[in-house]
């Protein structure tokens, strides 16, 4: 696991957006994005700061053989909801929530421009679910303790590299598929 992958993993586990993490250590979110994509590398002092923020031993961050994704703490943790949308007070990994069909939260956003167009993309061919599908929105699961807006803001930063400052809520839905 690369250092960038570790930073991204630990940031998401801590439910921080790239912008929020950047503010904590005095860097722009674009710099965080570059670190996470291994385009550039933070200096030793920053790695020390990150280890403190993530409450992780610095050795784990620097050891390229250490892989968070193979440890039990690697999965995204989501709130389990009741059927009426209220929190149960319990959490579970994303994998378990899907396996058991438990109610959870997701947050999605369309991105438009001033020409009446929507930003779309194709799901990469290496993904397990619907590879090649054209998707007109961005976003994903809401992590435990995170708000819907924080989640969609985080996802936009990760997926398209922008920090959206305002959103209009279109609809709140309850769906089963």
């Amino acid at each position: 696991m690369t250092l960038g992958e570790k930073i991204k993993f630990l940031r998401e586990r801590t439910a921080l957006t790239q912008e929020q993490l950047g503010k904590m250590i005095g860097y722009n979110f674009r710099v965080i994005s570059k670190w996470e994509k291994d385009i550039s590398v933070p200096n030793a002092n920053v790695i020390y700061q990150l280890a403190k923020i993530f409450d992780e031993p610095i050795e784990n961050m620097l050891n390229e053989n250490f892989d968070y994704s193979s440890s039990t703490s690697s999965e995204e943790i989501l709130d389990i909801l009741q059927e009426d949308g209220r929190k149960t007070g319990f959490t579970a990994s994303k994998q378990k929530i899907h396996e058991k069909g438990l109610w959870h939260r997701e947050s999605l956003s369309f991105v438009c421009n001033n020409k009446g167009q929507l930003l779309t993309y194709k799901r990469v061919e290496t993904t397990k679910i619907h590879p090649g599908l054209v998707v007109p929105y961005f976003g994903g699961h809401v992590l435990s303790g995170e708000s819907y807006e924080d989640a969609v803001k985080r996802e936009l930063e990760e997926e398209i590299g922008i920090t959206a400052t305002s959103f209009e809520l279109l609809q709140q839905t309850k769906g089963v598929s």
Binding site: K37, G101, N114, Q117, L118, G161
Partner: protein
Amino acid sequence: MINRRFTNYYITRCDLEIENFNFSEFEIDEPKWIDFDIVYDYVKSNEVYKIKFENENFEEMFKKVEKFLKSTKEN
């Protein structure tokens, strides 16, 4: 596997050209700006989206998307 979810749908505006975004190569392929009508027809006719939107108010949401687009479109 059953996916039971509460979803908030938002819309936000960003007038950047495609090359000015910083897309995640792990998740995003062939990003494009596409006209609303084309996106609407694609989503409405696609089996994956039919399943996804079965229990959600697809038409109402896309009407709101269209209204937002019209309100922000430059003449």
